[in-house]
Symmetry: C2
């Protein structure tokens, strides 16, 4: 399965090289056990210890130049057709492999905007310049960010199918959490319950265990990107959980909101209901605008404005990101035009991109309302991948 | 525990900055969930999503500049004293924090030689240049490789103690494997047995599960850096296993060799015994030469030469590497003067470095003999951290 998925993505990469008229794409790495270029998993499917180059060309060739001790492993993995082992220095073999192609444009993995297209470290970049010093390849180097954005962003049908399964499994876990939440339980207990379920089902986590799930109960929590604490669920709390699994190599990323009814209450207080409804409506409005060709900042703006005119502070992050092998994936982002997002909010949205939509707002004295749905962009709109949360989940 | 270890390493980093007269060390990262600078785990102890700078200064200050959404998490982690959250762009806050120090030398994580000091990606390096464009900090940037080599290489007593525990636990697993090995069992079955033990004991693996353990039975195997296959153990096989655990954040990395007696045999065939003895003796000879101040290539040469004059091919890798939070750790390497190792074989060995010693040789028609021991460098020599394998383990 893994190998077939890699072949599918390599074929797609070749098509993208043709489309963008780039002759060669080099993923140049070393010691990936210490730090791993994010493209390795999608294109290669194994690790590399010594300086190694994984080269895909416009004519469909795949060349791996690797340390000789890893030759047998690379053969066994079987994702690259031509394997060139070297013993003492990569340089000669590297030039020998590249020269016959005489590439005019060579993409390498660096990008000021996209961390997923920025797997080449600066020291290794200097090594590359050194290997190429006696050639003029250095003047032909370009960023792979357009390739990476397209390759990671345009999901194949099998990638979409796996993501759907991942989401379905994740929502089942959310259902179990709904039954588990009770006043007196701490955030840490909820997280432990989730980890136990995930282990039992044999899934991975979509991001670091320390805050996957993130769970926040009541007012005055960190609200996001923070691990569970000893804070206990209490009556009158709004609870939210951010959680995703890694399933057959692909991630889900979802959020849901609960309210803990006080003993005398039969429904959510008006201010909680209002905040929740604003979140739901902001998602509907953003989703209505989401289609191929649009720039992400425009979608973000729809939700952000709606939340602000409804009387809440704007959320301190983007509305949504792409999801794939990484929880934060792809190029185009549904984010505001803040410098920290670089050019990502300006990259046109494409068909088959998978996005989260995840606005948030604070309901004073209660907690944080946030819903995160997942959608796939279709020819002229979106398809919901997650069954939407439209009612706040009540804990009695 | 984790937090105390980080404080210990930050204190040590400050001492190293003073020793090397470097004013400031910046670990500059983003989206560490996708790819993580290897220094993050040792110095920070959590992830960062948006561009973030973790700054340690010669006067002992620790400043973290991070996305505002991660402020509460950073406070809870508690490893950096001053936390500076930003919302839209890191640049202003970054300059505001650095300026009062007026640093003459600013170390950043790039290195042509050491992957552990090369966590800064090229795209992010360009971002850094851009943030500093109106200052002259760009001319003050230097590589952190000397700092990283010292900090990761000079183990504290608590790091040595944890490593000793990790080794002890690992050797217990090797003992269990000795009882498990039988003709007819496949490499994959052995690996599954090891994974089950590791899970049951709650340990992590020292490197990627796909080849941790690596296990090779009989002649004509890949021999190293390759995953287990369906190849079955048979009489007359030399078997070797390369395996390590991650225990309280620190790695072990050990290898052992077995021989499967044929039905009529009561002891190992002479050629197997000879090959095994050469490995044991090469380790003793290398260990005798290992002391502070020496360069690693000289230690490698001792074992390499002994193996060659004994009639075997040289091993296609270095004799040994440092071990720490990563299986391949530190700067100085016991490796040959091959270009692929850069300057690492020339970095002087220091007291409290933890090294593997792992020569290998092929015993024709039988398999690969390899032992990997772990040692810590003392004031004038070494202390064995692993109980040495001096006899080949026999499977009857």
């Amino acid at each position: 399965m893994q190998k077939e998925m890699i072949f599918e993505k390599i074929d797609q990469a070749v098509k993208i090289l043709i489309e963008k008229d780039i002759d060669m794409w080099i993923t140049f790495v070393r010691e990936t056990g210490n730090m791993k270029d994010p493209m390795m998993e999608m294109l290669v499917g194994t690790n590399a210890t010594w300086q190694s180059a994984f080269i895909i060309t416009k004519n469909g060739d795949t060349n791996a130049i690797i340390g000789s001790l890893e030759f047998e492993n690379m053969k066994a993995i079987g994702t690259f057709k031509k394997i060139h082992p070297y013993l003492k220095s990569i340089k000669e073999k590297f030039l020998e492999v590249i020269t016959p192609y005489n590439p005019k444009k060579i993409a390498i993995n660096f990008s000021r905007n996209s961390s997923l297209a920025d797997g080449l470290t600066y020291g290794l970049y200097l090594e590359l310049l050194n290997h190429f010093a006696e050639t003029d390849y250095t003047s032909r180097l370009i960023s792979s960010e357009d390739i990476v954005a397209a390759l990671r962003g345009r999901k194949s049908q099998s990638e979409i199918n796996i993501t759907k399964e991942a989401i379905k499994e994740t929502l089942l876990i959310f259902d179990d959490v709904s039954k588990f939440l009770k006043p007196g339980k701490s955030e840490k207990e909820v997280a432990a319950f989730v980890h136990e379920l995930v282990d039992k089902k044999g899934f991975g986590l979509a991001w670091e265990k320390e805050y996957c799930p993130s769970i926040f109960t009541g007012p005055n929590t960190a609200g996001a990107h923070s691990g569970p604490t000893d804070r206990k669920i209490d009556y009158g709390h709004v609870i939210n959980m951010d959680f995703g699994i890694k399933y057959k190599g692909y991630c889900s990323d979802l959020q849901r909101t609960w309210y803990v009814l006080r003993p005398h209450e039969t429904k959510t207080p008006d201010e909680v209901q209002k905040g929740f409804n604003v979140i739901v409506e902001s998602i509907s409005r953003a989703a209505n605008e989401l289609k191929p060709g649009k720039e992400g900042w425009k979608i973000d703006e729809v939700a952000r404005n709606y939340i602000q005119v409804s009387g809440y502070d704007e959320y301190p992050h983007g509305l949504g990101h792409q999801v794939g092998r990484s929880a934060h994936d792809g190029g185009a982002l549904l984010g505001p035009k803040w410098e920290r997002y670089g050019n990502l909010p300006f990259i046109p949205i494409e068909e088959s991109n998978i996005f989260t939509i995840e606005p948030r707002l604070t309901i004073n004295n209660y907690g944080i309302a946030t819903i995160e749905e997942m959608v796939v962009v279709t020819k002229d709109g979106i398809e919901w991948l997650s069954e939407r949360q439209k009612e706040i989940y009540l804990i009695r």
